[in-house]
Point group: C2
Chain length 343, copies 2
Amino acid sequence: MKSKVKVAINGFGTIGKRVAIAINKQDDMVVSGIVKIKPDYNALFAKRMGMNIYTIDKEDANEFKKKGIEVYGTIEDLIKESDIIVDATPDGVGENYKKLYNKYGINSIFQGGEEANIADISFNALCNYDEAYGKKSIRVVSCNTTGLLRSICALSNLSKIEKVNAVLIRRGADPQEIKKGPINSIVLNPVGLPSHHALDVKTVIPWINISTAAVVVPTTLMHVHHVTIRFSNKVEKNDILEALMNSPRIILVDSAISGIQSTSQIIDSARLSKERGDINELVVFKDSITVDDNEVQFFQAVHQESIVVPENIDAIRASLELSSKMESINKTDKKLGINKILY
Amino acid sequence: MKSKVKVAINGFGTIGKRVAIAINKQDDMVVSGIVKIKPDYNALFAKRMGMNIYTIDKEDANEFKKKGIEVYGTIEDLIKESDIIVDATPDGVGENYKKLYNKYGINSIFQGGEEANIADISFNALCNYDEAYGKKSIRVVSCNTTGLLRSICALSNLSKIEKVNAVLIRRGADPQEIKKGPINSIVLNPVGLPSHHALDVKTVIPWINISTAAVVVPTTLMHVHHVTIRFSNKVEKNDILEALMNSPRIILVDSAISGIQSTSQIIDSARLSKERGDINELVVFKDSITVDDNEVQFFQAVHQESIVVPENIDAIRASLELSSKMESINKTDKKLGINKILY
């Protein structure tokens, strides 16, 4: 039997912990260890899950020992015994570790909070898995960009896309973030157009003509996008529906059947049907899909904490040439219970 | 000297009280009385301002008298001694009073929460003042529709408009509303497209091709719109800027100069420079204005409590044939201190 590839995780926050749990569900990879800076509740959880904890410096280990958490060594020790590292450090911090990863020649997966040039390629499994195959370093784009790419790539075969205009209504903070706002404001993010998301989409599919605008609002649960796609030719609503239904990692939610018309209802429903209430799928509101000649408009919702988790798993397989595109996507989705069902 | 026309106000909530205050600042009209159901803080304020208070039924007067508020009669008494009535009752309630107004043959101004067919015409001063001239009943469209009409009509002379797509990020409740939500959700309003705003814009300018989508978010201060207008021909950014600058009741806010990039900063700024912090103008974010060939996109913000106040004053003048369009707009703006300046 082929041995599992060993995956190091640097950072065990919102994304890191979810990717670690997801990796240990696969049959071709295992978490070799996680790197933590502070011995907080996430570190205590990691210990209870039997994950080996490493620190940046030897000195950091003392704080962990005081809380009864064993430390297995430094990040350099962990890198030496791993095949690939997933950098899940905060936005922009991955850049600081890039030199270290390069020093040891380890393959690396970065997150969308980093600049695009940190890695050999920016990645979305559905859009450009094959181009990422064998790449030494891969950047999994951010949650909002992943959401946009899922629907755009799912619909890009119907007809030539002339223009995408998307308005992103972003959650202000993740549920545990107590120092971020806004409490009572709609913040243009930024005022100038386009928002960076349009450029970020183009790091994966450079051929697309896209403009995005974003606002931040006082909620913690999910982002909502309003997407307008103008095609070269007239499109049929049924073709749109079929393309989205047949695409991996997209849920079509029907408000007429479920009564779901908001992010809070999506999350409440997912708390019944999904582990941790995470929704790895992009949620498209089926009855918002409206076709006007060659233009389609719809609403979609993005669970910012978890939508990139399956992409990280696929990025590991692509980088280490473990599986072909659909083999990896299908395996990831099966092991993570991604079933395109919300209720 | 010409005597002032006497204006009755039915309802003294968010809109009614602001319209009453605005009327008493004009030199050609005066509030003859206001109709209140409950003797709450708004009623106590009206008393202190010297406004005459009327009730629906004689029995209601007792509750007012208990609080030391004199009642001058019933709504029918008030109508008999007034030239026109502004209905500022809650959404949909104006319909119940229409018969009463008709019984006495009094001219009437309704708000945008009523169905369009309640009045002879739906109204925005900039877009269709002349068409409303002499109309027995006029409906001032809602705050969101007013905001959309201000920018659309300001730009409609530049080139033929092919399509307007607008995404409305709506405040969940007004500041004093303690029983409305959402607290932590983005609510599609509604899921199906278009939202009613597109149809409402067409009640004033039926020739427009428009689609709108709306979400409701947890904030109380202002609405934000992202507007995309596609013209028949290429447009120049300078022409857009000039048209907006020269249009009444539009403020261009420059985030690069002011640092203002959110609704809360707009309101905080208005608290210094405007009465009650009300912003009767539509606020367009100057540095969001982005032109791509024949398409322009921008953000605008709408102060839901006060944007329709000047339109109500103009509607009174149009209905009673007191002034021509620009004469009325200029007079209203001068008396209300509407100066297109935020800071």
